[in-house]
């Protein structure tokens, strides 16, 4: 049974069809790359899966359960996490406190006994060290560089201890080595058991990361398979890679 | 129920005429809130300002209040552009519109009301014009001119704005700025400038709405507050961003209020708009013709 199963998902904005009958299945432990031109509906798909947007048709099943009626925080608590394309940190909280929020509200909602005090602190620091932000624990997000903000964004998603992580263009605007860092980080996370869907434009990163590649163009899925095969598919080349 | 048909017909007519007037009151908010997404709750304050200016000039020089308001429109436009500039510099630019932007407009609303109280006191003020008083009779139907003239002027204002927004470059840029700022920039139009123009227009309409208000009823500084609920109720009911929706919403509200007034008494009127607003928000927040 796939961890995430999206069937026939459609989303319109007024007259504009953003997503048209998307089918997508992600197995537990997989590393899936999702690519497509700007405006093809990638972020909309993530928003629909997480519940930030409500789809008109179709179903989203997570770990066998239909999640369509659930609000975003309920889906997060069931193990779905996402990072935002443009980082959205909690501006008035310190970097460490940004991580405390998902720990308090998602992790503690699941486990007994709840994380408290020193244990909570330790978990925050552990996550910060994982992404290399430990020295900035007491800073505010506005003091961070671009890369650091994106790392915080990822760390916050990971703090929720998800089964599935959807990383939405986590690497835009980063240098080559920074991109490599993040890919390595994501692969390491996957090795710990987190299923990851990576939405990205940077082909090098996508090819290195993905075990499977899905291509979205104008709201439709036009390819889904082995990265090397998909990349050589003439339909895909015409629609996307030829640019 | 013993309803007389006359009463019913005239309640509907009064409602429609009232709805026409409400269109003038709300059309500015359709632009500032519906299109620009700026929650200008001080809108009624500008209207009351317009009423008082019409009052002063009418009392001193005897000029027709509606004519005065048309002459005042450019000044109100400049005022609106200025207010937008302050709003933009202080809030919009830094992405902090919600709490502080709202407080800013609330402060404006409040300060305007208090200044008017200090200058004019709390007495009701009214204007004089040839159409205040007489009624036009058609069979059993009564058309009080003091309601009919504002209704006609209001609908003319709506028509002018609708034409402007759909036919001129700036008008269409205004509609576009709500949807796609990037595309607008590529057309070499500055989104900030377009928004400033739009907001200026929105305040310019309050000059006219203010004159119409003081034709319909005597005005004192706190009257503005009754209109906040009405204005947003109509906007939401009609569908944000749709000017024709505003007219429909205004007419509906006018008729509902007129019926409530006729059959339950006028002191319940303020509650009607709120009830309508809540109902709409609960049932269909996109409004009747919403995007």
């Amino acid at each position: 049974m796939p961890l995430l199963q999206v069937t026939g998902l459609s989303k319109r904005f007024g007259g504009f069809v953003a997503l048209d009958g998307i089918d997508l299945a992600v197995a537990a432990g997989e590393r899936v790359g999702l690519i497509g031109p700007n405006g093809s509906g990638k972020s909309t798909l993530v928003n629909c899966i997480c519940g930030t947007l409500v789809n008109e048709t179709g179903t989203v099943r997570f770990a066998g359960e239909v999640v369509d009626g659930l609000v975003t925080h309920e889906r997060t608590r069931r193990g779905m996490a996402r990072s935002f394309q443009l980082p959205r940190p909690f501006g008035t909280l310190t970097v460490a406190d940004n991580l405390r929020v998902p720990l308090l509200y998602t992790v503690n909602a699941r486990r007994r006994p709840a994380l408290r005090g020193a244990e909570l602190e330790a978990r925050c620091i552990e996550l910060l060290m994982l992404v290399g932000l430990a020295e900035k624990a007491a800073n505010l997000p506005r003091d961070l560089t671009q890369v650091e903000m994106r790392k915080l964004e990822l760390a916050r998603a990971m703090a929720a201890e998800p089964k599935l992580l959807m990383a939405d263009e986590a690497m835009a605007g980063l240098s080559q080595s920074e991109v490599d860092d993040i890919v390595t980080l994501l692969i390491r996370l996957n090795e710990r058991g987190i299923t990851i869907v990576l939405i990205e434009h940077i082909m090098r990163a996508v090819m290195r990361f993905s075990q499977r590649l899905v291509v979205l163009v104008s709201g439709k899925k036009i390819a889904d398979g082995q990265p090397e095969t998909v990349v050589r598919d003439p339909v895909v080349e015409r629609a996307y890679l030829g640019q | 129920m013993g309803l007389s048909l006359d009463l019913l017909i005239n309640a509907v007519i009064a409602g429609i005429l009232l709805g026409g007037f409400y269109t003038a009151v709300t059309i500015g908010v359709s632009i500032s809130f519906g299109i620009l997404d700026i929650v200008n709750i001080a809108h009624p304050a500008f209207i009351i300002l317009g009423s008082y200016i019409a009052y002063i000039v009418n009392q001193s020089f005897g000029i027709d209040p509606i004519v005065i308001s048309l002459l005042m429109m450019p000044a109100f436009y400049v005022l609106g552009a200025g207010v937008y500039q302050i709003y933009y510099e202080a809030f919009e630019r830094h992405g902090q519109e919600s709490l502080r932007g709202l407080s800013f407009f609330f402060g404006l609303l409040f300060v305007t009301e208090v200044i008017l109280i200090l200058v004019f006191g709390v007495d009701y003020r009214y204007v004089e014009a040839w159409y205040i008083g007489p009624s036009w009779h058609l069979g059993v139907m009564d058309f009080p001119l003091r309601m009919l003239v504002p209704c006609v002027v209001a609908l003319a204002l709506f028509a002018a704005l609708e034409l402007f927004l759909s036919r001129t470059f700036i008008g269409r840029a205004i509609c576009a700025v709500a949807q796609d700022q990037l595309a607008l920039r590529l057309m070499a139009a500055s989104p900030t400038r377009i928004k400033r123009i739009a907001f200026g227009i929105s305040i310019a309409t309050t000059a006219v709405a203010g004159a119409l208000l003081i034709v319909i009823q005597p005005v004192e500084p706190s009257v503005g507050r009754d209109y906040i609920g009405r204005v947003f109720a109509i906007c939401v009911l009609g569908g944000l961003g749709s000017l024709p929706g505003t007219v429909i919403g205004a007419m509906l509200l006018g008729i509902i209020e007129s019926f409530t007034s006729t059959f339950y008494g006028p002191s319940w009127a303020p509650a009607v708009a709120f009830g309508v607003l809540l109902l709409t928000l609960a049932v269909r927040p996109a409004g009747l013709m919403g995007r």
Binding site: V101, R156 | S103, E113, V114, L118, S222, R225, A282
Partner: protein, 315 residues
């Protein structure tokens, strides 16, 4: 400082304030002081919703007045001791807060703000049409001259309001330092990201509106006894809305100290101004200060003390 200790310390401070006022032996201090204390409660209550979660309530007067009119209602029906009336006022206003929130909080913050503004007008309409509590003519509340506890009745009211202040401040402070406080802050900072992090935003917002409304209702409950003659126009007065926003915004919205500072400063200023100038000018000053601070010093006095003049971050 632990919550329990804070409570103890503030009770001691309150007791000191009370006995100091008694020592000065001037009833005016009690009458003026009551108003300032009332504003501390209102400002703190407003801030729990407005400052912590970022949802603006323009209808503070409505919640305040409902507490007052609940007292009038019971006064006519069956007189109850004021502490009981305070609890009732809290419940009534809390329920209204919950209801308003439930209907509008799933939409944008702007709609909630507009709904609260319209709410004040509507509730005033209801009260004006409700003859049992006096309608537009108003209601007289004869208050006893003496109270068994404290001697002059105004001392009793002052003491009650002091207790409410302690309650409100302790409440605000304990929220700030709790998990709830983090949740509120994330709603204010980025509601979408908060949901994605597992924060149940609707539930938290409803908690905030209920709590805020309840505290305002509690502040309103003794009001008829303070003022003796209650009219809708004074109970629903715009000065409550403006002050409950201006005081936290000027004092600083991110901490429980802000509303306290704002209320004490502005409240005292207004008491002086009303006596020396006029009440309309006094309100004008408050309005201008609000607009000024909102534009220039958005973090209020607390922000100025902590960070100096605000640097604008480029966007």
């Amino acid at each position: 400082m632990q919550n329990g200790i804070f409570l103890l310390v503030s009770l001691v401070v309150a007791a000191l304030v009370f006995f100091a006022a008694r020592a000065l032996n001037n009833d005016y201090i009690f009458f003026a002081g009551y108003t300032v204390l009332q504003f501390i409660v209102l400002a703190t209550a407003w801030n729990i919703l407005g400052g912590y979660t970022g949802y603006v309530n323009f209808g503070s007067a409505a919640f305040f007045a409902m507490g007052a009119y609940a007292s009038v209602f019971f006064h006519k029906l069956y007189p109850l001791p004021i502490p009981v009336l305070i609890v009732i006022g809290g419940i009534v206003s809390g329920v209204v807060g919950l209801g308003t929130g439930y209907l509008t909080l799933r939409l944008r913050g702007a709609f909630f703000a507009i709904a609260t503004l319209a709410l004040a007008v509507v509730l005033q309409t209801f009260v004006v049409n409700w003859d049992y509590v006096g309608g537009s003519r108003g209601a007289y509340i004869i208050r006893p001259n003496q109270s068994p506890l404290t001697g002059p009745y105004i001392h009793y009211l002052f003491l009650l309001m002091l207790v409410l202040v302690v309650l409100a401040l302790a409440c605000a402070r304990s929220i700030e330092r709790s998990q709830l406080g983090y949740g509120f802050a994330t709603i204010r900072d980025d509601e979408l990201a908060a949901e994605a992090s597992g924060v149940p935003t609707l539930r938290l917002k409803l908690i905030a509106t209920t709590l805020s409304g309840a505290l305002m209702g509690m502040a309103g409950a003794p009001f008829p006894y303070y003022i003796g003659y209650l009219q809708p126009s004074s109970a629903f007065g715009l000065e409550y809305a403006v002050n409950s926003i201006a005081m936290p915004m000027i004092g600083g919205t991110t901490s429980w100290v802000g509303p306290l500072i704002g209320a004490v400063l502005l409240g005292s200023l207004q008491q002086i101004a009303t006596v020396t100038i006029s009440s309309a000018v006094n309100l004008l000053i408050v309005g201008l200060l609000l607009v000024g601070f909102v534009i220039i010093a958005p973090s209020g006095i607390v922000g100025l003390v902590q960070h100096g003049w605000p640097r604008r971050s480029a966007k």
